[in-house]
């Protein structure tokens, strides 16, 4: 299963400054967002994971999108990934 990950608003600074990642996940397993967050922690996080995760959740100030919709609309941690999904992590900006 191929999933595209995008980090922006500064969240990419935790991932080697790379905004766009395409990852392959074993399709024989089911992948919830919760499981994906753990996978990211174990496989992609270049810096201290507590900057991205707080317990099982994404830390406050990061908006999570599934195919351009707020993950709250699709089940949040329980959403099950589909092939070709695009998951976006946007750090909210405060500057002006």
């Amino acid at each position: 299963m191929e999933v595209s990950l995008n980090f922006s608003g500064g969240a990419e600074l935790l991932f080697g400054k790379i905004k766009q990642h395409t990852i392959s996940l074993p399709a024989e397993e089911t992948w919830s967002m919760k499981k994906l967050l753990n996978w990211i922690k174990d496989n992609l996080l270049k810096e201290r994971p507590e900057l991205f995760l707080q317990g099982d959740m994404v830390r406050p100030g990061i908006l999570v999108l599934v195919n351009n919709a707020d993950w709250e609309l699709v089940g949040q941690l329980d959403y099950l990934l589909q092939n070709k999904d695009e998951i976006v992590f946007i750090s909210t900006l405060h500057g002006g």
């Binding site: 922006s8 810096e47 100030g61 500057g95 002006g96």
Partner: protein, 298 residues
């Protein structure tokens, strides 16, 4: 003025002719703009283009809130200030630019630090507010004041090559706290002084804030008037995400208003009833002017 009483003056017709002829504006729309008031919270990189395009379009009353003075390091993005205004109040400097472009607009300068003691009065005095501020404590305060005063909020932000824009508290749409019930740890908050910004990025977002405000105000024109075309804001419950480095625009669907929101839930449910009762600096871990001693990685 004449506009408030059912027709446009000859001056108004010639000044606004290029937008009057659009069916989404028309005479009724132009009168609506003239009878509207907009509060610009922050006279910086976002507030400069937002204020000037709103004034240019003929919004009747523009308020500008800012407690800072113009610095030379502002001028790479805060394009309505001038070298001669370095050291002058930003609110006064922006108001001056607005007046010199359009003397028909009433401009009010609020050269004060926005806080819990004055936010409600300030926001209540206008039809719509624009968040052009630069730190989480102020953004939560502005949001709460807008919700409790029943005012829609056009929110913009920018950092580095990126910008974001959305509309909060419009009709049944969500507010800032619906999206972000918990503030970010201050060590993850970066402002434009620390992180840098390309000046045209807040330029783009502030210009879009003005456009969104105009559409929101035009939505109030009575549907039965003449052959006016309906229009309204595009970003209530939606977020625009812009990345100038790749020139990518993304439009995102946001969650609806949250029934357990601390401020926009029903009066029986909400936990915030008065902004005076909230210590925003404490809530966010630092106030609008505290120096950031943290990690500043995000």
């Amino acid at each position: 003025t004449a506009a408030r009483h059912g027709h446009l003056t000859k001056d108004e017709v010639s000044r606004y002719s290029r937008q009057l002829i659009l069916p989404q504006v028309g005479v009724e729309g132009q009168k609506q703009l003239a009878n509207s008031s907009v509060l610009i919270l922050g006279a910086g990189g976002l507030g400069c283009p937002a204020a000037i395009y709103l004034a240019a379009a003929g919004v009747g009353h523009v308020g500008v809130v800012d407690y800072d003075v113009v610095e030379v390091s502002n001028l790479h993005r805060q394009i309505m200030h001038r070298e001669a205004s370095v050291g002058v109040s930003k609110a006064a400097s922006l108001a001056q630019a607005v007046r010199s472009l359009n003397s028909r607009v009433r401009v009010t300068v609020h050269d004060v630090q926005l806080d819990g003691s004055n936010a409600m009065d300030m926001v209540s005095g206008y039809d719509v507010a624009l968040d052009c501020s630069d730190n989480p404590a102020t953004r939560y305060l502005i949001n709460d004041a807008c919700v409790l005063a029943g005012r829609p909020l056009i929110s913009g932000s920018a950092l580095r090559w990126e910008g974001q824009l959305t509309v909060y508290n419009y009709r049944d749409g969500p507010c800032y706290r619906c999206l972000y019930p918990t503030p970010p740890n201050p060590q993850f908050v970066t402002n434009c002084s620390d992180g840098g910004v390309i000046g045209a990025v807040p330029g783009l977002i502030g210009t879009l804030q003005a456009m969104e405000t105009i559409k929101l105000l035009l939505a109030e024109v009575k549907p039965d008037t003449s052959n006016h075309c309906r229009i309204g804001p595009s970003f209530s419950g939606r977020l625009l995400v812009f990345d100038g480095e790749s020139a990518m625009f993304r439009t995102v669907s946001l969650r609806p208003k949250q029934l357990d929101c601390a401020v926009c839930a029903s009066p029986q449910t909400r936990t915030i009833n008065r902004v005076q009762d909230v210590d925003y600096a404490l809530f966010c871990g630092r106030g609008p002017h505290d120096k950031d001693e943290g990690l500043r990685i995000l």
